[in-house]
Amino acid sequence: MLAPDPEQRVVDRDELARLYHQMYLIRRVEELAARAYTQRKILGFCHLYIGQESVAVGVAAACRSSDRWITGYREHGQAVAKGVSPRKMMAELYGKATGASNGLGGSMHIFDASVHFMGGYGIVGAQVPIATGVAWALKRLGTQDVAVCFFGDGATHQGAFFEGLCLAQLYKLPVVFIIENNFYAMGTSLERQSAVTDLYLRGAGVGMAHEQFDGFDVETVRERVGAALHHARSGVGPVLLEIVTYRYRGHSMSDPARYRKDGELEEKKKSDPLLITEQRLKDDFGVSDAEIEALRARADAEADDAAHFADSSPEPSVENLYDYTYVSPR
């Protein structure tokens, strides 16, 4: 097990309340995205993060704001956790000019350089070598920043995943690779995807530090990712983390997820990240129901504001269609 980051502060009442707010906000934003999808305001593919909120929020709590994040197509929650404003995020889902990528990217391609959110990628596993390259640059340019790369269990069978890991370990790059194991690659369950179901063991093959833990408790995520970041930042090389989580919804909006076992979802919901943190706030920090309700109400209002902003934003102009195909000569 990686040594904890000695500089990481202990989570206090305010910090935990902030994390709870963030997780609740992400869930509420995703619920409104689902609602908008059923109203045909969000089109195409739409992959929701509901159930996995503790991962993105825990990782963000452990990161510096200058750390770079690179991820896949289930990235709405990570975007919000990294600091992309819910307004810009939602407007991108709506395909509006005010979106994070001006409506050019959509649900799967959210980019926000201002908060070092380097994008959602739609080709499974392609972000792994890209994150390796970001880490290469962070190291060569003399920064103390780390690249954080998110992907699902389904990406761990791709060649790009192995090649990215090989290169990152070979060059001892500051990158933390995070497998968010939610047990399904689209509709294929873990044991039907892989002979090795402890996916973090893939790290052993390239000589990389590797670790697995349950990610339902945001404090655990924060603490273990903090250790991994500390390792990567110290210059000794990358880390592969397998964070066990669960997605409550189908792969995308049109997937009813009939492939789950009966009762599986209900069982998993007992360790719901919001529930765990709510209990902890009440039991260990004496937070009242009214205070919890106030946190939720604030997040509800933020999410509503994002949806309204997206809905009332202008469409992109077709006149600007060619603006970003090539960088104009300097």
Binding site: A100, L104, M118, T132, A160
Partner: protein, 323 residues
């Protein structure tokens, strides 16, 4: 007079001295001095952080270059041959060509992908592919292919300074080809074709190593009383429409010579554009010379039947001239 490989090396080294964010990465580029000795001596000057040997993981190090470019560096990726770039095709076409657009301009991809393209001698099926048609298809990529040491150096320096991903196609057969390169610095802009030989009766549109095949053909056509212009477009994307259309306006006949397979190739694209814009300037259908439509065979006699030769160019020009 210096050989092509040295012109390419000069371009890289000069730019690397100018800009510390540039690095060269690829298989055998450092300690081995490059599979074709293009990067000979560069490790000694720039060190292992900037002249970087990679394992055989084309998709991986191409993706690495994409990420490094997004984070502020300017990678040069050497493919030992462009055949191997197909292993990395996803990162080139799905990542490098698109991130600038799908991030609405927030991330730039100043990467040069370079290496030998097309056939050499007896390299057989999997090491002889010409890839220009595979890359020129994609908006977001630029594709260039020099035919002389002078052009190679000037175009490569432009490619390294360009903020877009550039596919830079060389030829194993040309690394030893010598030409004049001036001492003073110069750059050659993309999208500017060069008339390698002036002519009045027919224009041969071509790029890369087959510029020389076509110069040879033009010389032999002189004996038949045919004055052939050889127009080296140098960059396939962006394409110098002005130069091509002006040449057609002068000669009223054109032949396009493209290495690689004929189906849906760059030659087909250029011919389409000529007929779209110059229909009334033409005295004859525009014909093309390409490889034969089969995977490259190994045996010499078969290989010679497949590749583009000066004789085939002469035959095709005569068809266009009605001879």
């Amino acid at each position: 007079m210096i050989p092509m490989r040295e012109a390419i090396r000069q371009a890289m080294a000069e730019e690397m001295r100018r800009d510390p964010t540039i690095f060269l990465m690829g298989e055998e580029v450092a300690l081995y001095d490059g599979a074709y000795k293009v990067s000979q001596g560069m490790l000694a000057e720039f060190g292992p952080d900037r002249i970087v040997d990679t394992p055989i993981a084309e998709n991986g190090f191409t993706g690495l270059a994409v990420g490094a470019a997004m984070a502020g560096m300017r990678p040069i990726v050497e493919f030992m041959t462009f055949n191997f770039s197909l292993v990395a095709y996803d990162q080139v076409v799905n990542s490098a060509a698109r991130i600038y657009q799908m991030s609405a301009g927030q991330y730039r991809l100043p990467i040069v992908f370079r290496g030998p393209n097309g056939h050499a001698e007896n390299l057989a099926s999997q090491h002889s592919t010409a890839v220009e048609s595979l890359y020129a298809h994609f908006p977001g990529l630029k594709v260039v292919s020099p035919s002389t040491p002078y052009d190679a150096k000037g175009l490569l320096k432009t490619a390294i300074r360009d903020d877009n991903p550039v596919i830079f196609l060389e030829s194993e057969l040309m690394y030893g080809f010598k030409g004049e390169v001036p001492d003073e610095e110069y750059l050659i802009p993309f999208g500017k074709a060069d008339i390698k030989r002036q002519g009045d009766d027919v224009v041969i549109v071509v790029w890369g190593k087959h510029v020389h095949t076509c110069l040879k053909a033009a010389e032999s056509l002189k004996a038949d009383g045919i004055s052939a212009m050889v127009l080296d477009i140098r960059s396939i994307r962006p394409l110098d429409h002005d130069a091509i259309f002006a040449a057609v306006a002068r000669t009223h006949r054109a032949v396009v010579v493209q290495e690689g397979f004929p189906f849906a190739g760059v030659a087909a694209e250029i011919i389409t554009r000529i007929q779209e814009s110059c229909f009334d300037l033409l005295d004859a259908p525009v014909l093309r010379v390409t490889n034969r439509d089969v995977p490259q065979p190994y045996a010499t006699v078969l290989e010679k039947a497949v590749i583009i030769t000066a004789e085939r160019v002469v035959e095709t020009v005569k068809l266009v001239m009605g001879r």
